[in-house]
């Protein structure tokens, strides 16, 4: 679970506490499970607050909000960070309103002002057309949700020492939202935290060309994303949709095939480190967001690239 994230904002003397309700973490890259508290200490936590309680077994934002509010009142942190996942973005506002403090959504840059000690929280607005830097001068804790994938996780240092403390959840807190049916999205990785991504748009021409895009994704070790019209046409499922009404992605490499680059789509790819765009139209707006521009038939280029990578 990533709603607390170790980040670059801790000052030299600051204490970094991570809180968790999980006893094991799935390490997707190593395909293994490790005990969470040790994992978090190795990742940089000075202290891990662990709560093992059946009411925290599933992500119920209201239950977690009560828990975190109680912890915040007891431990009085200067800063609380949450992953800007769907859950983090539902949970953090519930904490903010109960603690009557500020909350900055979906930050992509965080810095500590060395003079004021204020957390400078920078986030995109207007679909990424405008960036705003926000501070919370007079209320504590300073809180932000942080876009997943923006900060690299620190290298694990198994020799680090950290304190592990067990905390409880108030007996009066009870979940009120009941899950009737869950439809998990396959076992595959979510495109939100993919390191490499191939994104297809209408420019791929036909549904059968999806197979080419899939082969390219396989050759790159990438996941497959798409624009909204492809989901509407039923070519791919909604969890593949990249953009303002879909998923915001932050891969190291994004290869965009036949995507024109509507502003709503561009809003979802602002976190990508390197964007290679292939489109027939040299004036396509996608090139304004790309680092490398390939004007040409995206399927021809994709097929040639599959061969070149082989």
């Amino acid at each position: 679970m990533s709603w607390t994230s170790p980040s670059s904002c801790s000052r030299a003397r600051a204490r970094l506490s991570l809180i968790t309700s999980h006893s094991c973490i799935q390490d997707r890259r190593r395909r293994s499970s490790r005990p969470v508290p040790r994992h978090l200490v190795a990742a940089g936590a000075d202290e891990v607050l662990v709560c093992r309680d059946a009411r925290l077994a599933r992500p119920d934002a209201e239950v977690f909000a009560h828990w975190i509010c109680d912890l915040a009142r007891a431990f009085r942190p200067e800063v609380i960070l949450y992953g800007a996942t769907a859950f983090g973005r539902e949970l953090a506002p519930g904490v903010a309103v109960r603690l009557k403090t500020g909350l900055t959504a979906d930050c992509t840059v965080l810095a500590m002002d060395p003079e004021t000690g204020l957390l400078q929280q920078t986030r995109p607005a207007f679909g990424g057309n405008l960036m705003a830097t926000i501070v919370c001068p007079a209320h504590r804790p300073q809180m932000a949700t942080v876009r997943p994938g923006i900060f690299a996780a620190p290298a694990a240092d198994e020799t680090r020492a950290g304190e592990i403390r067990y905390v409880t959840l108030d007996a009066s807190v009870a979940p009120r939202v009941r899950v009737v049916d869950a439809e998990p999205v396959g076992a595959g990785r979510s495109i939100a935290d993919a390191e490499r991504l191939v994104v297809v748009g209408r420019g791929i021409g036909s549904k059968k060309n999806l197979a080419v895009a899939r082969r390219l994704a396989d050759a790159l070790g990438a996941e497959l994303g798409c624009t909204r019209p492809l989901v509407e046409a039923g070519w791919l499922e909604y969890p593949h949709q990249v953009g303002q009404t879909g998923v915001s992605v932050a891969p190291k490499l994004l290869v965009s095939l036949g995507v024109s680059g509507a502003i709503q789509h561009l809003a979802g790819i602002g976190g990508a480190q390197t964007v290679i765009a292939v489109n027939e139209d040299a004036e396509a707006p996608i090139f304004g967001a790309a680092h490398y521009k390939v004007v040409g038939d995206c399927i021809e280029v994709a097929e040639a690239l599959i061969d070149a990578l082989a």
Partner: protein, 266 residues
């Protein structure tokens, strides 16, 4: 049953232009529109009203916004499309509000309504701010349960609401006892067109415009004064460089790309 829909006036997004000199949003003559997610929220509320009314339950849909006086025009349009009444919170004391101060103002407005609220419906987020915080903050303010990112028309039966929502792991169907707050994704429904009787009714309908004092709001908690967060800088993100064009035949382009990818795209 009483449903409140919270709506926000936003600049028409595709027309947003940034002034490269002042780094502010150019708003010259651009009409504001209802945030598209909030338009969906209104339709979701109206569809619940249709279903409950058909089942013989008196159901009322109130629309609420905090904004400049011109927002009244948009609220009247909501009435033309089927809302029963509208409340606009408009006061200089509300200006410059962040999400906490906005939530406080809206909660004061909701508390002052003449009928208790069973369901609050919000858009998942506003397309100008993208925070997605107002719905869950309102839920916290009223200690109501919250269901975010509802994907389809929810069903209300008696005092229980069922909704299918997106979550990190996929989708899930959840049920909750009312009162509750839900936030809806844009594709959950398509807002109906105004009806001719609706338009006529909207012309005559009273849109209550209330100030902070009218809703007993403590002005130290509203607007800029009541906002814990402050924007200290806003800027247009600079592109470090133009995209590098990769020329040649598809095979040459592919070879160049493969080389780039293999070097880690530095």
């Amino acid at each position: 049953m009483h449903i409140v829909v919270c709506v926000k006036a936003v600049p028409s997004t595709t027309e947003v232009k940034m002034d490269p000199e002042t780094h502010t949003i150019v708003r010259d003559g651009r009409a504001s529109v209802i945030n598209p997610f909030d338009a969906t929220a209104l339709e979701v509320a109206l569809a619940i009203k249709d279903a409950r009314s058909a089942a013989g339950e008196r159901t009322r849909v109130s629309v609420m916004s905090m904004g400049i006086p011109d927002t009244e025009r948009l609220l009247r349009d909501c009435i033309a499309r089927g809302a029963d009444d509208a409340l606009l919170l408009s006061d200089r004391a509300f200006a410059g509000a962040d999400t906490l101060a906005t939530t406080y103002a809206l909660s004061c407005g909701i508390s002052q309504l003449d009928e208790a609220v069973d369901l609050i419906v919000c858009g998942k987020m506003a397309v100008d701010g993208d925070t997605a915080q107002i719905g869950p903050e309102l839920a916290g303010a009223f200690e109501m349960p919250c269901i975010t990112d509802v994907q389809e028309q929810p069903v209300v039966c008696g005092r229980i609401l069922w909704a299918r929502r997106a979550c990190d792991g996929g989708r899930e169907t959840v049920e909750v006892d009312l009162p509750a707050v839900i936030t809806v994704a844009k594709d959950a429904a398509q807002l109906r067109m105004p009806s001719i009787p609706g338009v006529l009714a909207a012309e005559a309908a009273p849109v209550a415009v209330k100030t902070a004092a009218d809703v007993d709001a403590d002005t130290s908690r509203t607007g800029l004064a009541g906002s814990p967060t402050q924007v200290v800088r806003s800027f247009v993100p600079e592109r470090s460089q133009e995209a590098v064009a990769i020329e040649g035949s598809p095979a040459e382009q592919a070879a160049a790309l493969a080389a780039l990818i293999e070097e880690g795209c530095r």
